[in-house]
Amino acid sequence: MLFWTLTAAVLVTVTGFLSLDAPLFGDRAIMEFDPVALFAFAGLMLASILTVVLHRKRMISMILLGVVGLLISLGFAKLSAPDLALTQLSVEIVTVVLIMLALFFLPQYTPLTSSRWKQTRDAIVAAVIGLGVTLLTLAVLTRDLSPISDYFLKNSVSGGGGTNVVNVILVDFRGFDTLGEIVALSLAGLGVFSMLQRMSLHASLNDHAGRPWNVDERSLILQSVARLLFPLMLLFAAFVFLRGHNLPGGGFIAGLIASLAIVLQYLANGITWMSSRIRTNMHLVIAIGLAFAIGTGMVSIFLGYPFMTSAFTYLKWPGVGKFEVASAMMFDLGVFLAVVGATVMILVELGKINVHKVATGDSKKGES
């Protein structure tokens, strides 16, 4: 059944292509690549393939996944997308911490269950899809584009009051879209929170070779450095947030950096130490963030404009100089708070199962 479905899919695609006169590739001039780019992309492909080859050793596969993400971040930086590079970089770190936390409660190795024939079949399916995606991308990239983005590039400074067009699109032109995205992020955070309530997992007390895990509470070096870094990281987040409208940065990236600062403290000092110091409930942070974002949009309704109409003006502050105040900044603040709340909540809730397990000391699940 599966075989026939796949064969039909491939046949339809191939006949579709062959029955048209248009060539597969267009005639747009393609860019030369330099040795550095070749090296980086070769590394990217190698890391992806190794993730698959070594996927049964889960820890190694997870580290290689991190390598893939960091190389993609480099690629974004090369291909004129500094905002994406910053976002990918910070998301990658958060993702690796997340997968690492989860891996603690899962087996460290994947047992071999599928037969050689099934592996070959899956590899063929994957290779055909990969080939199709490559050809599709190349077919698009060799053709010219008449984008609608000229509108955004022309109106970014006059209409949105910012020179970083990507950020102006996010918080101004397509603010409604971004509102939907932060709601989705918050819902994922709340979903994770509710699923982790009263969950108790079996985590083994030693690694696969029978050696017990390190019982030391935490590393003194990491602890000292992390405490020094905390104010600096928050300051950097504020800096990235404030420059976001005009230079690469903005609410999403600043939010991720601030969450990293907080999560680093949790990693270095432990849940108990931190929860006696950060009493703020992350639900509240998410709620305030969403309220800021929606509230900024509502103000324009009360003033008689459509939802989320933005306004900006320039202020002169003695000693600082001329700077811009935009209503979009308030919306970006909402994005910032929602991202911090959701990210910290996801990671801290995952870390808390750990405490529960150590406190009870049982190795099998107690309650269900």
């Binding site: 690549f33 291909l79 004129s80 500094p82 399916v125 994957a126 982790l196």
Partner: protein, 118 residues
């Protein structure tokens, strides 16, 4: 450059699909993450590739990269993280309820030492 990017997207998509077809939850999560990388880079490349032309308005700039796909992908990266978090917690929940990490929840129960015996 276009060829390199296309092949990379293809390789990441293929690796992601292969891992999603595995029978245990952890490789599926890793595969979903790889596939989401491939999709993000694919969407980003739809604005065509440009080197040294960030979409920041300045008098000296001659040309700009397409900002629209960048804005869409920026949020997509964050949403992909949220999705990964949700799926991996689902995997933990399944392990809690069913006692194993098979995607159908019907895998034979192995202890950690047996699993390590590869």
């Amino acid at each position: 450059m276009e060829i390199l990017v296309s092949i990379s997207i293809g390789v990441m998509a293929a690796c992601g699909i292969y891992l999603i077809l595995r029978a245990h939850t952890f490789p599926v999560v890793v595969g979903l993450t790889l596939l989401s990388y491939a999709v993000n880079v694919f969407l980003f490349s739809m604005g065509r590739l440009k080197v040294g032309a960030p979409a920041v308005i300045s008098p000296e700039a001659v040309t700009y990269a397409d900002p629209l796909p960048q804005a869409l992908v920026l949020t997509a990266i964050v949403i992909a993280f949220a999705m990964t978090a949700f799926v991996i917690v689902l995997a933990l929940k399944a392990r809690d309820e069913l006692g194993n990490d098979h995607v159908d929840g019907k895998g034979e129960q192995l202890t950690d030492t047996e699993e390590a015996g590869l």
